[in-house]
């Protein structure tokens, strides 16, 4: 068009002289700022994590290869600590206990969370926020407080749970005296504190599923149950994996609940009925400073177990996709 040919392109207005001068003056500083300030901003994280997170972890590995006394000498012994672990009855006992409590907490907890999340996901539910908050509120309480309250609920002579059981004719149970009963009591604490959290995570996953999938299923005449099996569960798989792995990391490090259930005894019950791996690590590494190297080996064993269990979960969930 002739008009545009004759009109000069709009030239940018020249910057006011003072701004231009400031830019020139500051240009070196400016370039340094642009180039290096990002590193400055991320430095605090890497610095503090490096010193108090990464370094201790590597040091755990190094210590585990030694006969290491925290307040004395240390000698390099290669993998001897790990070999000793294999024939250490107390270690196997702690491993069995940890898995027992893990199973009693994770499995019922995730099923219940899945059920509650399905209910909370109903479109026309009233008082949504109230129910969400009520179900989540146990997570706000400290583990120490939970252990104190449930320790009392599971008290032998006048605990509420034994009283309720007596109403249906069950004799007083000494919850702290057997493996199965102490595991149940401790798992109950974990379940109470974490079911609501997992419910919310699963609910968030459910809400991210596209609505038109359900609408299409509705048109095809699929009932609610069928929709749950064919749409909700498969689409929820990544969220479910996330929740399972979080539970695994938490479950393998279980410490406070059993410790307080045992009134602070690090061996967890008279016959170590409910000593967990984390308690055993503490017993060997900090409670007895002279066996810190062995405690470090227990720490790495816990880490490897977590990786292994997470991997198994990952593969199982993956396989169920096919």
């Amino acid at each position: 068009m002739s008009l545009s040919a004759t009109t000069a392109p709009p030239s940018p207005a020249p910057p006011p002289p003072d701004v231009a001068a400031r830019r020139r003056r500051g240009s070196l500083l400016n370039r340094l700022d642009l180039k290096y300030s990002p590193y400055l901003y991320i430095a605090p994280f890497f610095l503090i994590f490096g010193i108090f997170g990464l370094y201790p972890m590597l040091r755990t590995a190094w210590m585990s290869l030694h006969d290491w006394d925290m307040v004395g000498d240390h000698t390099f012994i290669g993998l001897d600590n790990y070999i000793e672990l294999f024939s250490d009855d107390y270690f196997w006992n702690a491993l069995v206990n940890t898995f027992g409590m893990f199973a009693l907490s994770t499995i019922p907890q995730l099923l219940l969370a899945l059920f509650l999340a399905t209910l909370l996901n109903r479109t026309f539910l009233r008082a949504k926020t109230f129910f969400r908050m009520a179900i989540f509120v146990p997570n706000v309480v400290s583990v120490a407080a939970v252990a104190i309250v449930f320790g009392m609920l599971f008290q032998r002579e006048f605990g509420l749970i034994n009283w309720l059981l007596s109403l249906v004719g069950v004799d007083q149970i000494d919850w702290r005296a057997h493996s199965w009963s102490s595991w149940t009591a401790i798992a109950t604490m974990v379940n109470w504190r974490w079911t609501g959290y997992n419910t919310l995570i699963l609910l968030a996953g459910m809400q991210a599923i596209p609505k038109d999938l359900y609408e299409a299923a509705e048109i095809d005449g699929a009932g609610q149950w069928r929709q749950f099996w064919q749409i909700t569960l498969p689409m929820l798989r990544p969220t479910f994996l996330f929740v399972v792995i979080l539970s695994t990391i938490g479950g393998m490090q279980l410490f406070t609940e059993p410790l307080l259930f045992a009134n602070g005894s690090i061996i967890g019950g008279n016959q170590r009925e409910y000593q967990t791996l984390a308690m055993y690590m503490y017993e060997k590494g900090i409670y007895n400073l002279s066996t810190a190297g062995y405690g470090a080996a227990v720490a790495w064993a816990i880490f490897m177990i977590i990786v292994l269990v997470s991997l198994i979960n990952f593969i199982l969930v993956r396989r169920s996709a096919k």
Partner: protein, 280 residues
Amino acid sequence: MISASQRLWRTSPLTYVALVLAALLSIYPFYYMMVIGTRSLDSINDVPPPMTPGGAFGDNFGRVLDNDAANFLTGMMNSIIVSSVVTISVVLTGSLAGFAFAKLRFRGRNILLLAIIVTMMIPTQMGLIPLWGMMQELGWYDSLYAVIVPFLVTGFGVFMMRQYASQAISDELIEAGRVDGASTFRIYWNIVLPALRPAAAVLGLLTFMENWNSFLWPYAILTPENPTLQVSLSFLSYAYYTDYSQVFAATAIGTLPLVLVFILFGRQIIGGIMEGAVKS
């Protein structure tokens, strides 16, 4: 058209029964804490067990305060100091680094971000034993430094702020700041930080709760003379385990602040947790 009441009943009454039951189970232990904490000690052995609050709270909590061995008030003060300092630091360092990862270009950005995500998956107990030794060498055994300094930054904080910053702050906004000649830090302080406020509030609440409730590390590194609240509670619970009403009065008071925070900000906390779940 369906009326509101019909809609209500499309959600079956059984759903409500189940949800109300779950809510009651969630809330009952709080109530129980209150019942035992306000009862005199001799009513604990009643059959059936006491179900309603009593009037002995003042007496019970008085015993907590008189208990020289438990240092309850010191624990309370320490917990307030530790949780506040850590929370402020986590929010500031998290938003600063999150801003850098979301909005600034620099070499190695992606690999460093990945490194931070990996740190979030490391079990926290891994370094416990050497960290304990390090604190001895630093002279921080039984000092609040030991429970503050290692926790001043979290990978979760950086990651969460990065996620929020990348969607909440437009590149134009930052460009506009640059054209005005603002330094990067000025842009962070005057433009980015105010825009990050909603996410910073949620991160702050979660961080405060986590540190208020933290147990294993404070238990390992502090003594009963200079405890955090949780360490004081645990000490009370096994040194005075026969005096249930005293222990429960202390537990109720120690739990109360977070319950209040949750009643005030629960909606935001829940929103933050659910959003975080979808993104990761």
